[in-house]
């Protein structure tokens, strides 16, 4: 295969990574932006989403699409509820103090991980995709008779992967609409701008915080449900999404949603391409290096408008 089709293939893989990463990172970014809480347990909410998806699909039986659709609804709601409970019982008691919430969410990370290990076990388990047709992709090439289409061997994707990209895009548009077009979004942005003034204007800040923490965790869980037919559910699977989400949130500009999405696309695509041509480790090294450079030369993030 020539280089062109190869790059297309890598970009498609990268786009799937980017889509799932964007969802996860937007959840982290929302929580940081509105609550100023650095949620180290975010990756565990992702993992819980995948594990719950496996349980739901396993219990439902029948056609794979049935279990998958049920998981798509149940996992984010359940994980969101767990996060709301954690917010009300732990973070609220710490008065959302930035340092103490970091320590608390580290604790939460280990509790969730160990409870999952004890109940779900150390195995990696797959969830079957609801549909999974192989789609061969055409490539264009100049032959003796001018430009012509052909199907290079190995250049293919699946309908499910395309659906993941589409679904993530739709959910992100939904989050954007929620933040900019609805009353609850307005209240969240006011709380983000000035918590004390939000209180002085009758906004129940504690309820807003609980909602945002639940929403952030729910987005991570949703991302995990989307990826679990490709990646399998495992109790340690939360580490990579956490690291990548942090990278994306810092590069995109702390608390900036469009910046987070753009950075996710940038990191996801380059991760896909570098992983295919070189190695996944190099991709992570370069991403981390980029974070260092951004922090030194542009602390507000590549797309951030003002210092956070």
């Amino acid at each position: 295969m020539e280089i062109g089709p190869y790059i297309l293939l890598a970009s498609l893989e990268g786009a799937v990574t980017a889509a799932v990463l964007a969802l996860t990172a937007v959840g982290l970014s929302l929580v940081f932006g509105v609550m100023r809480v650095v949620n180290i347990a975010h990756g565990e909410f992702f993992m819980l989403g995948a594990v719950i998806a496996w349980y739901v699909a396993h219990w439902m039986g029948g056609h794979p699409a049935l279990g998958f659709v049920a998981a798509l609804v149940v996992a984010p709601l359940l994980v969101g509820a767990i996060a709301v409970a954690a917010d009300m019982t732990i973070l609220k008691r710490l008065d959302y103090d930035p340092e103490r919430t970091i320590v608390a969410t580290i604790g939460l990370l280990y509790i969730i991980q160990q409870l999952t290990l004890m109940s779900y076990g150390p195995e990696a388990r797959p969830v079957e995709a609801p549909f999974n047709q192989r789609i061969a992709l055409p490539w264009i090439e100049r032959g003796e008779s001018g430009w012509q289409f052909y199907y290079p061997w190995g250049l293919s994707t699946t309908s499910y992967k395309l659906a993941v990209i589409g679904a993530a895009g739709a959910v992100l548009c939904g989050v954007w609409a929620l933040m900019t077009r609805t009353r609850i979004g307005l209240v969240m942005r006011a709380t983000q701008a000035d918590r004390e003034m939000a209180l002085a204007f009758g906004i129940p800040v504690e309820k807003v915080y609980a909602l945002v923490f639940g929403l952030g965790a729910g987005l991570a869980a949703l991302a995990a449900v989307l990826i679990v037919p490709i990646q399998q559910a495992h109790y340690l699977m939360g580490a990579d999404p956490l690291l990548l989400s942090f990278i994306v949130v810092i590069i995109g500009g702390l608390g900036s949603l469009p910046g987070t999405v753009l950075a996710a696309v940038l990191i996801g695509l380059s991760d896909g391409i570098i992983s295919v041509f070189f190695s996944p480790t190099l991709a992570k090294i370069l991403a981390t290096l980029l974070v260092g450079l951004v922090l030194v030369f542009r602390p507000q993030g590549l797309f951030g408008t003002r210092a956070a």
Partner: protein
Amino acid sequence: MLRLEAISAGYGKAQVLRDFSLDVAQGEIVCLLGRNGAGKTTVMKAAMGLLPLMGGRVLLDGAEISRRPAHEVPRAGLGYIPQGRRLFTGLSVAQNLEIGLRARRSGRDTLEEVLELFPRLRERMDQPAQTLSGGEQQMLATARALCLRPKALLLDEPTEGLQPSMIDAIRQVIVTLREAGVAILLVEQRVDAVLSVADRVAFLENGRGGAVMEASQLRADRSIVDRYIGV
């Protein structure tokens, strides 16, 4: 209308206010004077429920608002125009006002009345709040609080850093509000600006309440002011 009864408050363990008491009647402007760091802003934050009280209580129209969670204090009818304006950045002028309207479920008619007082805001409704000029920002901060249709209003240095024409406009609005029966607690550094509008003046020294007197007394004898907050 607004009554502070021996309130004590501070930040963490550091106490700033000690047993401070003050009454503001309906349709009255009381001005709180004191040196920088005396605790004037702290009085307002404590009244709003933004700082936990170490003692005492706050009553609005007979209701003990200091027993309620902070976000219910504005809903009871206490409006706050904080020092430094503190608008919701990132939100437009209209959205800032909308937050004010929602607090007490005020309707469009309230918005119209408020915009009547600040016509310049009407032309800037879709502009992000942080892009307004200093004077316009103060107008917005005031308009936002008025959207609550407050029974009592706390104004913390509303003319800080404004041009004379703007100061006049703000003072005009304060007088209009008094006529509408709002109880007004005003913190101001410019003594001249204060004496022309205030009904009574209360002094605050190192977190403790000092003399409270009629503004007319001070207008007659300025040396009293110098004794309390002089350089």
